[in-house]
């Protein structure tokens, strides 16, 4: 009798378990996810979590002590370097496992394994750009140096040591949401992470494809006007007046350059799908003892990158009996990347140099197995790429490799219209190199000579390494291995049928732009062109001029500088571009044609103090108006080809408006009427006013509300709850405080090289990648207020110091 209800209720029980055990669309399995013993609740760290303890681990040679301060910054004290980097790997995994796993999978073109089929094209492009090929080439170089290899090995062992003991309940919450598992670490993954940085910083600093389209519609003199190499208002990294030696390498323009290259009017339809933000820039500067109150140098750095949670940076102190460095590390790689030790401080900004070129390849046939080069058919090397996809079958792609590099675009990629153009990519990041070695040596450097030696092998991405020492030296080098180009080489897609268009050599390292102890007592870099027109090499790139102008002018007038002054300069909201262009805009507005509301906005613009502060309405009006002007001036011209030619830079537009008197680009070529500059500017203002009125109705006329500064979780819109939005900050890409929506100062550091080392730092995030930890976002409010944390530079005698909150002891097992 009771058999039926028994079977029914048992069936219901089993069915419920089964339903709760499997994902429902994007929703993770409810049972496992909500289970307080296994699911997300286990990621809710007690506010009084104890991060201390004792661990016995295989792979260590001796004991290591980790002292955590109240911000969860680990101060790692090891007896040798292998143990030091083992523990750094362990700590990166302990606090940032999902981040390092996701970033290296994405770097390798394996995002689809976590994200599903929507990431297939992203993955294809990573593979076709040769990201894994680049990492493998780097790894060969890295592993050839047995001592250096032992650091990578130790780091990898440390990461894996954490992963191996991980239980299901302790998995980072993202794995529980995506129903995935972490993957074992390897030296290749560390190399991949560094290539991710190479792509971020040198993958979008050229514009060869769009430039090629520009060349098809503009005359040579127009190209000069629209895309000039040296801006009028440039204040370069190397002080003006510096004499450069005669170039040791003089590249030769191929005989066919005019006919096959410069005068080739063919357009190119292929486009990169994932182009790094050209605003991935940074500021750094240093002032010598002659300009500071204390007589000791002060160094400042703020790298501008996508702002994410967890942050791209992890603060750490690394100490052995022979060195003691402090700063931020990149989770996924050993060493301190930006920081200081007891003798020196260093920082980096991006060089913005073009180190990536495209060559047109002629294949013999559809098999792509050989291509025409130097008068014969040469075989390609094929690399078969399997892209595994979550919940789906793998997709395969075959990439042909040539003497130039991988063929990134052909009839199988990127889109339907790119057919019949085979473009191979030559990228400096493909060359064997060991960038980590530079950071390893900087961690231990004691003086200028050590620093110069450390940076001399750094290849890609080109960086501006700024330096200061306690002994009083200040210096900056733009360092990288840069091709010595003939004038115009690599601006456009180049012919790929013979060796004459290859890179002929490299600028000798000693000829890289640099400056040491200038009489003026300060040095700065902010992604501008490194040198003025007297530098004897052709150095194209995606330069940003305005921030450097502002920083240089400020530093020139400052004296008796203190760290507080440097903090104020980091926070500087002055809009130097607006200072230049506002008078032209105001002079050309035909006020009689404006309505009541429009006049109101005009008045806001007129009385604006030129500060992009969070509560500024003037900055909002200016930016909307100025964007509208640039669209009106250029859009008709650059749209004469499809895909469009590059937008002339903001700096170019400003200088053109100030210099030119004819202003023929102001005319809209799509109308029969000939528009004057005044007509175009007035019409642009009216368009901007419509946007402004709509924003005002939403209460978003104030700059910070308009811009909505936000720090997103790495998975962006998939996990909006893990983001921190609507921060009360101002700034913009052309402003020293370079915050724009979800991009900007990812780490602000100021180091005063006094006897005790007085250092400050902050990044908009926290040490922990766990959204259930109070250390997930605890520094955001500090950063938002423009404040800093004092970096505690711990010494041997500080083990019992009150600032030590937890001690984690590692022993060899």
């Amino acid at each position: 009798m009771r058999i039926v209800p028994f079977l029914c209720s048992t069936a219901i029980t089993v069915a419920l378990v089964a339903v709760f055990d499997r994902p429902l669309g994007k929703v993770p399995p409810l049972g496992a996810f909500f289970s307080p013993q296994y699911g997300f609740w286990q990621n809710a760290e007690p506010a009084r979590q104890d991060y201390g303890g004792t661990l016995s681990l295989n792979g260590l040679q001796g004991p290591v002590e980790v002292f955590f301060d109240d911000r969860l910054v680990p101060h790692v004290f090891a007896e040798n370097e292998q143990d030091l980097y083992f523990v750094q790997g362990y700590l990166h995994a302990r606090f940032r496992l999902f981040q390092i796993d996701l970033q290296t999978r994405a770097a390798a073109g394996r995002a689809s394994e976590l994200a599903g089929s929507k990431a297939i094209n992203f993955d294809k492009e990573q593979r076709r750009l040769g990201m894994v090929y680049a990492a493998e080439n780097a790894l060969k170089e890295i592993e050839a140096d047995t001592q250096f290899r032992s650091f990578f090995d130790a780091y990898t062992a440390g990461v894996n040591s954490y992963i191996e003991q991980l239980t299901e309940s302790a998995l980072p919450i993202e794995y529980k949401l995506l129903q995935s598992k972490p993957e074992k670490w390897s030296n290749l993954k560390t190399a991949l992470l560094l290539k991710m940085m190479s792509k971020m910083l040198s993958g979008g600093t050229e514009n060869d494809l769009a430039n090629t389209n520009a060349k098809s519609i503009f005359m040579p003199e127009e190209l000069q006007q629209l895309y000039p190499q040296v801006p009028d208002s440039l204040l370069p990294i190397v002080p003006i007046g510096t004499e450069f030696p005669k170039p040791a390498v003089i590249p030769v323009k191929p005989a066919t350059a005019d006919s096959l290259y410069f005068n080739n009017k063919t357009t190119v339809a292929a486009q990169s799908l994932d182009r790094p933000d050209p605003g991935n820039g940074s500021n750094n500067w240093v002032v010598g003892g002659s300009k500071t109150k204390s007589g000791y140098p002060i160094l400042a750095n703020d790298p501008h990158l996508e702002l994410s949670l967890p942050s791209i940076w992890f603060e750490i102190q690394l100490k052995t009996p022979t060195h003691n460095s402090y700063g931020v590390s990149l989770p996924g790689s050993p060493f301190v990347v930006i920081g200081f030790n007891d003798s020196i401080a260093w920082g980096v900004t991006n060089s913005q140099r073009d180190v990536k070129d495209y060559y047109e390849i002629k294949f013999k046939d559809q098999t792509r197995s050989s291509y025409w080069f130097n008068g014969e058919w040469v075989p390609t090397t094929m690399r078969i790429e399997e892209i595994k996809i979550k919940d789906s079958l793998s997709v395969f792609d075959t990439v042909a490799y040539t003497v130039f590099g991988p063929v990134q675009f052909d009839n199988r990629f990127s889109n339907a219209i790119s057919a019949d153009r085979n473009l191979a990519v030559r990228w400096a990041a493909h060359d064997p190199s060991n960038e980590g070695l530079t950071f390893y040596k900087l961690n231990k450097a004691r003086n200028y000579a050590d620093y110069e030696e450390a940076i001399s092998t750094f290849t890609c991405p080109g960086q501006n390494f700024i330096f200061a020492s306690r002994s009083g030296d200040i210096a900056i080098w733009q360092q990288g291995r840069f091709p010595a180009r003939w004038d115009g080489q690599g601006l456009y897609v180049m012919p790929g049928q013979d060796s004459s268009y290859l890179w002929q050599g490299y600028i000798p390292q000693q000829e890289n732009p640099h400056a040491i102890n200038p009489a003026r007592g300060y040095l700065q870099s902010a992604n501008q062109r490194a040198a003025d027109g007297t530098y004897p090499y052709f150095i194209p790139g995606s330069y940003i001029t305005a921030r450097g102008v502002r920083i240089d002018k400020k530093l020139a007038t400052m004296s008796a500088i203190t760290p507080r002054d440097m903090m104020e300069l980091h926070a500087d909201y002055f809009n130097v571009s607006a200072e230049d262009v506002r008078p032209v805009l105001l002079a050309n507005i035909q006020e009689g044609q404006l309505g009541l509301k429009e006049r109101e906005y005009l008045e806001i613009l007129r009385s604006w103090d030129l500060l992009a502060s969070p509560d500024s309405k003037g900055q909002t009006v200016f930016q909307c108006f100025w964007d509208s002007v640039q669209v009106s001036i250029w859009k008709d011209e650059i749209s004469r080809t499809n895909p469009v030619a590059p937008w002339p830079s903001e700096q170019t537009t400003i200088e053109w408006l100030l210099r030119d008197s004819v202003h023929r680009y102001a005319d809209d070529i799509n109308t029969t009427e000939v528009e004057s500059l005044a007509m175009t500017i007035t019409a642009s203002f009216k368009k901007a006013a419509l946007v402004l009125a709509a924003k005002e109705a939403e209460g978003k006329l104030v700059w910070s509300r308009f811009m909505n500064p936000s720090v997103y979780h790495l998975l962006k819109d998939a996990l909006p709850a893990f983001a921190r939005k609507g921060l009360a900050v101002g700034g913009y890409g052309n402003i020293v405080n370079a915050i724009k929506h979800s991009h900007g100062p990812s780490w602000r550091m100021i180091v005063h090289l006094t006897d005790g080392i007085e250092a400050y730092g902050v990044f908009p995030g926290g040490q922990s990648g766990n959204p259930g930890s109070r250390f997930y976002d605890n520094n955001i409010s500090v950063w938002e207020k423009g404040e800093y944390n004092r970096c505690w530079y711990m010494r041997d005698g500080d083990r019992a110091n009150q600032q030590v909150k937890w001690v984690l002891r590692f022993n060899k097992s």
Partner: protein, 110 residues
């Protein structure tokens, strides 16, 4: 000692390990089906709800506020704890219900 064994078994079991336990307990202790369901439901509601509440309290609701946005509960930690408890309770209830029927059918057969 028994509880020690229980805890170590707990750690080894999958997330649904409590389901057969609730089933067995209900099969061993004689109860009317409705009562068994209520006991299983309440027991697991308290176990999952209570444990998640305790975790949440120690965490100052940092994580639950965010997860209660991913699962559209308007950021309410209490709703998330309740949902956790109800999920556990539902499973505990049906498992106990099934167990009680096993007991009853056995006794009838005897």
């Amino acid at each position: 000692m028994l509880s020690g064994v229980g805890i170590s078994l707990w750690a080894l079991s999958p997330w649904w390990g409590f389901v057969p336990v609730a089933f067995l307990v209900a099969a061993m202790i004689h109860q009317a089906p409705a009562k068994a369901f209520a006991a299983g439901f309440l027991g697991m509601l308290l176990a999952w709800g209570g444990l998640s509440w305790w975790i949440d309290w120690q965490n100052s609701s940092l994580l639950s506020k965010q997860v209660a946005v991913l699962f559209p509960l308007q950021g309410s930690s209490a709703a998330l704890i309740l949902l956790t408890g109800v999920l556990g309770g539902l499973l505990g209830g049906v498992a106990a219900l099934a167990g009680s029927y096993l007991r009853i059918s056995k006794s009838k057969m005897e």
